[in-house]
């Protein structure tokens, strides 16, 4: 995009591509994307007769201003961070896992299957449930992963279609063979006999630490192991990786299965820690919001922690504002706007305004040192 504004002195302003995009600009742009999206929403709300500033203040008060609100945000952040990590790890290799939602359901499904049909001491059972959850998520992404690795079939559509299948599968079991015949709840299973222990008197369960641990592990793995190096090279250029002898096919499978396992983990934590019952409405679009989280974090696990918490606060605000007339659908729409703004912002960050003499518009930019872009943590 080159725009010209002619100033009488003979110098013109150009948009010139940066040679290297500093991290702080990347972060700023994403923050700006979220803020702009909210401003846009505010304008729309104003036109619709709501009072956005009052709503905003009320939302902030109830979400970040109270202990309950903060705890709710942390509880919501747990699945968001894990699904965000799931999508982010795939993003590093330019693989898009849009099926995180379905894998979440299958993880919860596998864990519920274990919990309802196997008996044992709680710690053992919970560990089994975790393993089952990860395996459930992995199994659900297996076919799209194979199709992508061997036949190069678009994984966006295959993973996404399986989301629809997953909801229907879980709904069948929740209102059918596993339904709760005692309580008045018609559409979910009975309460799981094993739960993640709570932390003291709060609403939090110990599962909230897992996303943090996983994020740290992933960061270490991506930066310091051979596997992480290979992932980064494949993400940079597949042909370079192939020339270097990196087993691309295997890594595609490994990364996609890892992605599925992470999403499955978020499922079992949700069902064993927060809801304690399996139903077809377990996920509040956590899988889809994970995409927004990963996009805001630009694929960095640490960024996912921050972005996940940010989006959890937003989601919580949306829930709080439901009493004021805002619906859940509005949150989905807002997420979409944030995503578009973040995507555009990513490109905008690559340009900066430069004032040059008007006789050199076509120069290939050489601003200072040539600098290979560093993959940030």
């Amino acid at each position: 995009m080159i725009t010209h504004t002619v100033i009488p002195s003979g110098r013109t302003w150009h948009f010139r591509r940066r040679v290297d995009v500093p991290i702080w600009i990347r972060i700023m742009i994403r923050l700006l994307a979220v803020i702009l999206a909210l401003v846009l929403v505010g304008i729309v709300l104003k036109l619709g007769g709501f009072a956005p500033l009052t709503l905003g203040r009320k939302a902030l008060q109830q979400t970040l201003g109270t202990a309950y609100g903060l705890q709710q945000a942390v509880i919501l952040a747990t699945p968001l961070i894990l699904t965000g990590l799931a999508v982010a790890v795939g993003m590093r290799m330019r693989l898009w896992n849009i099926g995180a939602d379905g894998q979440l359901y299958l993880g919860a499904f596998a864990a519920t299957a274990v919990a309802l049909h196997v008996k044992g001491p709680a710690p053992v059972m919970l560990s089994l449930m975790f393993i089952a959850g990860a395996i459930g998520g992995m199994l659900w992404i297996l076919i799209p992963a194979l199709l992508r690795a061997y036949w190069n079939l678009n994984e966006i559509i295959t993973t996404l279609l399986l989301n629809f299948v997953a909801v229907r599968l879980i709904t069948y079991y929740a209102i059918g063979p596993w339904r709760d015949t005692t309580a008045a709840i018609l559409s979910s299973t009975r309460r799981l006999p094993y739960e993640l222990p709570m932390i003291g008197n709060s609403y939090l369960h110990i599962g909230i630490f897992i996303p943090i641990i996983v994020a740290v592990l992933l960061t270490l793995a991506i930066q310091n192991t051979r596997w992480g190096y290979e992932v980064r090279v494949i993400g940079g250029s597949r042909s370079v990786a192939e020339f270097a002898g990196i087993p691309v096919l295997r890594q595609i499978l490994v990364v996609m299965l890892l992605s599925g396992a992470l999403a499955g983990l978020s499922g079992i934590i949700e069902v064993a820690g927060t809801t304690h019952r399996l139903s077809g409405t377990l996920s509040n679009s956590y899988g889809y919001m994970g995409i927004v989280v990963a996009a805001l974090a630009n694929g960095s696990p640490f960024g996912v922690l921050v972005a996940g918490f940010l989006l959890a606060v937003l989601l919580n605000a949306g829930i709080v504002l439901q009493t004021s007339g805002l619906s859940v659908n509005a949150m989905v729409a807002i997420n979409g706007v944030i995503l578009i703004f973040a995507a555009v912002g990513e490109i905008a960050a690559q340009y900066h305004l430069v004032r040059k003499a008007s006789d050199s518009p076509g120069e290939a930019g050489n601003q200072g040192q040539e600098h290979v872009e560093d993959e940030q943590v």
Binding site: R17, W151, L153, L161, V165, A333, I340, A343, I347
Partner: protein
């Protein structure tokens, strides 16, 4: 006999929605832009179509409203993707969330409302009397005729027999070479992305004004995604795409039949069929190809890659 005729009729009707959206997506993808926001565009088009019937009880006005909404969304998406060159996957997903959320929110007051004036079927005199297929193929609203008999041949002709179509294909395969020949790459991409969205919105309008003439949240049921999958099935050609849409429509109507006839399959599993069969449909063309050419994708080579003139 009646059952079979009914199945064919439902299959053709279901297929219409998909064909409209899928051909729109085919045109956009041929120019190199992947529009993942079809689902959202379809939902908003569907809502716009039925909502205008509250004011103007005429389905054609509803159709016009849907096309306008589609064009508007297309402009937004194309600006982000073609003009600003943002990531097509992220913008497409964002558009789809936006459309789904907004249509759910704005359509809440209309939930369950039936369209007072849906599209009427137009009966073609001699052909409609053919046994079995007559009623299904030739006694349908005009959008069905448009989707099956007008759109695919016109698009095929345009793509493969006209200079303009050749330019379009060139833009999708190698935009740098096309640019060097003087073809306005970004302008073509912008145009066809908007056309694609308009067609997807038309598909949505067909749902709420003809197929199930009412509105509830989620009435599009993932058909936008299935349309994108069908473009892959059809290897980016209109005619196999129509075949795929018919196959898909048959799966849906078989699902209806299974429920009505009481074959004992739980409804949840029947509801899974369309999505599972779509994945199968996507995999078939690749499975059938010989091992040597298997990894060569039939997609336009520059699909999904924003075009940046060298030196910009």
């Amino acid at each position: 006999m009646n059952v079979i005729s009914g199945v064919i009729c439902a299959a053709i009707a279901s297929g219409t929605v998909i064909i409209l959206a899928a051909i729109g997506e085919l045109l956009a993808e041929r120019s190199g832009v992947m529009n993942l926001g079809l689902e959202g565009v379809m939902a908003l088009g569907a809502l716009a179509a039925i909502a205008t019937e509250r004011v103007f009880p005429n389905p054609f006005v509803g159709l016009l409203a849907a096309i306008t909404v589609g064009l508007l969304l297309g402009v937004v998406y194309a600006t982000a993707t073609v003009s600003f060159r943002a990531s097509q996957v992220l913008c497409g997903l964002g558009l789809s969330f936006f459309g789904a959320g907004l249509s759910g929110r704005l359509g809440a007051p209309l939930s369950g409302w039936t369209a007072p004036v849906p599209f009427q079927s137009i009966r073609i005199p001699l052909l409609a009397d053919l046994p079995l297929v007559g009623n299904a193929l030739f006694n349908q609203p005009f959008l069905v005729y448009f989707a099956y008999f007008i759109l695919p041949p016109v698009v095929t002709f345009m793509l493969y027999r006209t200079r303009h179509g050749m330019h379009l294909r060139a833009v999708g395969e190698d935009p740098a070479a096309a640019d060097a020949c003087g073809i306005p790459v970004n302008r073509l991409r912008f145009l066809y992305t908007c056309i694609g969205c308009a067609l997807a919105a038309t598909g949505g309008a067909y749902i709420t004004l003809a197929f199930t003439p009412s509105w509830i949240e989620g009435i599009t049921g993932g058909r936008g995604w299935i349309a994108i999958a069908l473009v892959i099935f059809g290897a980016w050609r209109p005619l196999p795409l129509v075949l795929g849409a018919l196959l898909f429509g048959s799966v849906i109507s078989l699902g209806f039949v299974a429920q009505i006839q009481g074959w004992g399959i739980p409804s949840s599993f029947l509801a899974m069929l369309p999505y599972l069969s779509t994945i199968l449909l996507m995999a078939i063309p690749i499975a059938l190809r010989s091992k040597a050419v298997r990894n060569l994708s039939a997609s336009p080579s520059a699909l999904g890659v924003p075009y940046l003139r060298e030196g910009e």
